[in-house]
Amino acid sequence: MPRELTATLGGLGHGLLLTLAMTALAFMGAVLLGVLLAVCRISPVPPLRALGTAYVTVFRNVPLLVLLVLFVFGLPDVGLLFSLFLTVTLTMALYWAAFVCEVLRAGIRTVPLGQAEAARALGLTAGQSIRYVILPQALRSMVQPLANVFIGLALSTSLAAAVGVAELTGQAEFATLKYDDPLTGFAATTVVYLLMTLSIGLLAGRIERRVAIRR
C-alpha cells in the first residue's frame, strides 16, 4: 500500500507541475493578447474596434471545452498540428484573453471622467494623461478582477484532462483507475487546488492593499 501511495503521489506531482506550467504560460499569453484586444476595442479605428468586439463576444460565449475539442481535434484537419500541450495552452490563452480584455476596459472605466478633464486642463497631452493620470488609477482597480481571472484560468486547466493531458485532474482520475485508490487521488488533488486558489486570493489581497492610494 505505501508503495502505491508513493506512485499515486508521484503521478500527482507530475500533474501539478504540468498544471502550474499551463497556468503560468496561458496567463501570460492571455494578458498579452488581452492588452492587445483592449487597445483594439478602445482605439478610434472602426475595423479594429469591430474585431475586438467580435472576438470578445465569441470567446466569452463559447464554452472552453468546445474550444478545446475544436482546436485539439479540428485544427489538424486544416494542417495545423502542434503538440498537445502547446495547443491546449494556446486555447486557454485565447479564451481567457477575452476576459482579460473586459477586465482592462472595466478598470479604465472606473476612473472618473473629471480626472481626464483635469489632466487636459493642466495641459498634459493625451499620452501624458494616460500615462500619469489614468493608468495609475485604473491599474489599481484591476488587481482583484485579474486575480479572479487567474483563479478561473488555474481551475479551467483541469479541462485539459478531458482532451487527454495528464495534468493534476487527469492524474487523479488515473490514480483512481490504475491503483483503485480514489480517496488519496481526489483528496490530495482537492487540497492542492484549495491551496492554489486560497494563496492566489491572499496574494491578490496583499497586492491590492500595498498599491492602494491612501486618501
Partner: protein
C-alpha cells in the same frame, strides 16, 4: 464616442482624423489578408468542399443537433433549478447569526469554488461508484454542475445582501422586526431584485458547464457534435457549427443580462 474614448482621447482634429483614416485602411487590408489566408488553409485541406458541409442541409442531421441543444438547455435548466435555491440557502446560512450554520456554509462555498468542476465530475464518475453509489448519466452530469455552481451563486447572493444599504435593515429593526423578519420582508426581496442580471449571467456559466456531458457521455450538444463529426468524418465543420450554436444561445443570454442590468440602472419612474 464611447465612455473610454472620451476619457482617453481629445475630440480628434483634422490630423488625428487623417491618421485614423489611414489606420482604418491599413487594418482593413491586414484583416482581409488574414481572412484570405484562413480560407486558403481551409481550401487546401478540402475543408470547404460540399461533402464536408452538405450534411448540415439534411433535416435528420439538423434534428439530431437541435435535440442536442434541447438536452443542453434541459441540463442547464435542471442544474439552475437546483443550484439557485441551494445557493440561496447556503448564502442565508453564511449570513445567519448561529455559528453552527455559518461554518458549514462557509466551508461548502470555499471548497466547491476551489475544486474544478471536472474533478468533481470524476468523483461522481469514478470515485462514488467505488463506494457503491451510482447515479444515472443525467444526474452524474447535473449534480456536480449544480453543486459547483451553487457555491458561486451563494457568493453572488451574499454579496447582494451585503451590498444592501444598512439603513434598510436598521429601519426594519427599529420597527420591531426580528432578524429573521427583517431578512424575510426587507433585505432579501430587495437584494434578489438587484441580483437578477447576475443570475442570468450565471446561466451562461451553467450552460458552458453542461458541455461536460462530453466527458460523461451524456448526449448534449457537444457530445452529439462529436458523434456526428466522427461518423461523417467532418470533425472541424461539425465542431464549428456546435460552437456557433453555443455563441448564439449564450449571446442571447448575455444580451438579456445586459438589458436587465441597463433597465435597473435607470432611475425608477
Amino acid at each position: 464616442m464611447s465612455e473610454e474614448s472620451r476619457l482617453l482621447f481629445d475630440v480628434p482634429g483634422p490630423r488625428a482624423r487623417r491618421r485614423t483614416w489611414i489606420a482604418t485602411v491599413c487594418s482593413l487590408v491586414l484583416l482581409a489578408g488574414a481572412l484570405a489566408l484562413m480560407v486558403r488553409q481551409f481550401a487546401l485541406h478540402s475543408e470547404l468542399s460540399a461533402s464536408q458541409w452538405s450534411v448540415f442541409a439534411q433535416w435528420p442531421i439538423l434534428r439530431f443537433l437541435l435535440t442536442g441543444i434541447e438536452q443542453t438547455l434541459l441540463v442547464t435548466g435542471v442544474a439552475a433549478a437546483i443550484a439557485f435555491p441551494l445557493g440561496a440557502v447556503v448564502a442565508l446560512a453564511r449570513l445567519s447569526r448561529g455559528r453552527w450554520a455559518r461554518w458549514p456554509a462557509r466551508l461548502y462555498s470555499e471548497l466547491f469554488r476551489a475544486v474544478p468542476l471536472l474533478l468533481l465530475l470524476y468523483v461522481f464518475l469514478f470515485g462514488l461508484p467505488r463506494a457503491g453509489v451510482t447515479f444515472p448519466v443525467f444526474w452524474q452530469l447535473v449534480l456536480p454542475v449544480s453543486l459547483s455552481n451553487a457555491a458561486v451563486v451563494a457568493e453572488i447572493f451574499r454579496a447582494g445582501v451585503l451590498a444592501q444599504d444598512r439603513g434598510q435593515a436598521e429601519a426594519a429593526y427599529s420597527l420591531g422586526m426580528t432578524y429573521g423578519q427583517a431578512m424575510r420582508w426587507v433585505v432579501v426581496p430587495q437584494a434578489v431584485r438587484k441580483l437578477v442580471p447576475a443570475l442570468v449571467s450565471q446561466l451562461v456559466r451553467l450552460l458552458k458547464d453542461s458541455t461536460l456531458g462530453y466527458v460523461v457521455s451524456y448526449l448534449e450538444l457537444l457530445h452529439k457534435a462529436q458523434v456526428l463529426g466522427e461518423y461523417y468524418h467532418n470533425v472541424l465543420p461539425t465542431y464549428l457549427v456546435a460552437a456557433a450554436c453555443y455563441v448564439l444561445v449564450n449571446g442571447l443570454l448575455s444580451r438579456t443580462a445586459g438589458w436587465l442590468e441597463h433597465r435597473q440602472s435607470r432611475p425608477r419612474g
